[in-house]
Amino acid sequence: MRQGQLFRVTSIGVTWFWLGVFALLPNIALLLVAFLDKGETDFFIPVFTLNNFEELFSPIFLTVLWDTVRLAVASTLVCLAAGYPFAYAVAKASPRRRPWLLLLVIIPFWTNSLIRTYALILIIGAQGMMNKALMALGLIASPIEVMYTDLAVFIGLTYTFLPFMVLPLYASIEKLDPRLVDAAKDLGASSLRAFWHVTLPLTLPGIVAGCMLVFLPALGCFYVPEVLGGATNMLLGTFIKNQFLVANNWPLGAAASSVMTLLLIALALVYRTVNRRISGRERRGDMFVSGVEGGA
């Protein structure tokens, strides 16, 4: 018992320490800088100002923010649409096959994601496989311009973050008690109806978790738009990077970054609330199921 407690304290303590030093402190520093003034030769000067946040209300930044959110939402929805059937199929596959299918989801992680992003150029480029194939088939006369467009960024984000959707969905679908679906069908529900009223609500935590895991990193991701994106749409990650590395305006970059962090925290709170409500409902559901079992 005592040993268990020691293990708990150390493992939690180490994690807390790690997050505190490498995540919390830098973010607090960033938040502080966001309230300071831009210096001529220094990165910032210790003069309090709200100008940086005011500047964020300019149409320029709002467009950047809007474009970023739009792309992140689109990627999340497509990941969900593609990831759910896949996760479902894996969860329902025979136990012998399942680890192999899961391995397929993990394999891309063996290669650095930046390299995988560059590899995409070989596929979607003007002289890439996609265009060459379409032209060989006579479907198009000249290459479709995908590189350096929004579409390219969208493809890149969706591809990069799809596994983040599949894994939580799989965990949640696999856990689903198939007898509940059978019960629904016994009571006369069609497959679609059973899915809508039983499967979907019970896998909702997985859906929400998957969406968060895709949406949040997609919002701040900067290497994908950097490599695949073009001149027309600047996204939030690139905007922040530029403030720090090119425009030499740390306070504005810090303000933009803090706004993004606040946005993420707000979403995490929504996630928690939704999850609590679902798990509350689930607990009542579980009681009902165990009651049935007890009676049988």
Partner: protein, 356 residues
């Protein structure tokens, strides 16, 4: 169920940490006390074989990392107060800024006997008149490249030609602030070192008019974009162009009539460099003519190393893109530090990048 999700989360977070691990290990390796030299350089600037041979010859390990813009390099060096790197390769106009910020060490010329091979014409330039802090490594110029498959040979000769309506969405523009503004200033007939607000404003208007034609801003992938026919034309460094043409003979290059933008990238040693002696050994090694020659052969930029130039094959010495004519040299301008006006440039640049 929750536990499963948490497990997934941890798994994925772990994977993310692995990715960051590379960066951390590079930093950890740069701690002083070992027989090494930490170099911070532009990408594609020193052949790997040269670094390997240096280590073989001296036993000094080279820890190497790269940057894509002077601005990013400066931010990082300044943030670390010049502690983490030994040798850095800023462009001329950033040498002055780094001196002002007290980031550079005074060079002890007696430790660099090989500097005798350098062309006196390339020494004592405006940014460092006595070469107290810097010595030139390579130099080159920004000209205009285009693909003759889409644009008839000889039909573009000026920066202003880029504004033609048929180039809409077909250009690549350098992501280097001073190069982009430099060509715009030249197109408008001004100096690339203008500090006059009206002239800088006019240059911005030029770039603003050019923006619908710009498919992408880039520095490192300009070659690839031209080779893969994603874009038809754009400003490019002469060496980059020569490398690109080896793969794509349809590419053509011109030093624009309005002028071209030269650059010199220089060796400097940081004031708080952890391995100063090794830094001298490294620079002196790169100044050796037979070594300097190898960098020219690989990356096709000009060298200020007179004796290295004479070692090159005749066709390279006579290549007018690699070694521009006097006439081109006369119209070529080298960016200098523009002082406080830089903030004006930065502001316009940010506006250009974010505006639709």
């Amino acid at each position: 169920m929750k536990r499963r999700i948490v497990a997934c989360f941890l798994l994925l977070a772990g994977l993310a940490v692995f990715g960051a691990g590379g960066a951390v290990s590079a930093l950890a390796a740069s701690k002083g006390g070992k027989n090494e030299v930490v170099v911070y350089n532009w990408s594609e600037f020193i052949p790997q074989s040269v670094l390997d041979d240096f280590t073989k010859e001296t036993g000094i390990k080279v820890v190497y990392s790269t940057f894509e813009s002077n601005e990013a390099m400066f931010a990082k060096v300044k943030l670390l107060r010049g502690k983490s790197y030994d040798v850095v390769f800023p462009s001329g106009y950033f040498v002055g800024r780094m001196v002002q910020n007290k980031l550079l060490d005074v060079l002890d010329h007696s430790k660099l006997p090989n500097m005798k091979h350098l062309d006196p014409k390339m020494l004592g330039m405006g940014f460092d008149k006595e070469n107290k802090y810097s010595l030139p490594y390579m130099w080159g110029a920004v000209g205009l490249a285009y693909n003759t498959k889409f644009i008839p040979k000889g039909s573009i000769t000026k920066w202003n030609d880029l504004l033609r309506p048929e180039f809409k969405g077909k250009l690549i523009l350098t992501d280097d602030l001073r190069d982009a503004f430099g060509l715009a200033l030249q197109a408008k007939g001004f100096s690339v070192n203008s500090i006059v607000p009206k002239e800088i404003g006019a240059a911005y208007e030029f770039l603003r008019a050019l923006k619908p034609s710009v498919r992408v801003f880039d520095v490192t992938a300009i070659k690839q974009a031209l080779i893969s026919e994603e874009v038809w034309a754009g400003p490019i460094w002469n060496g980059d162009f020569l490398v690109a043409r080896e793969e794509k003979p349809e590419l053509e290059f011109v030093f624009p009539e309005e002028g071209s933008i030269g650059w010199v990238d220089n060796f400097v040693i940081l004031k708080n460099a952890p391995n100063k002696e090794n830094a001298y050994a490294f620079i002196n090694y790169l100044l050796r003519p037979d070594v300097a020659k190898r960098a020219v052969e690989e990356y096709k930029y000009s060298t200020p190393n007179r004796d290295a130039l004479s070692l090159l094959p005749a066709e390279m010495q006579q290549n007018l893109i690699l070694v521009p004519t006097e006439e081109v040299r006369k119209r070529m301008e080298f960016p200098q530090d523009v002082g406080d006006a830089l903030q004006m440039y930065e502001k316009y640049w940010e506006q250009l990048k974010t505006i639709k």
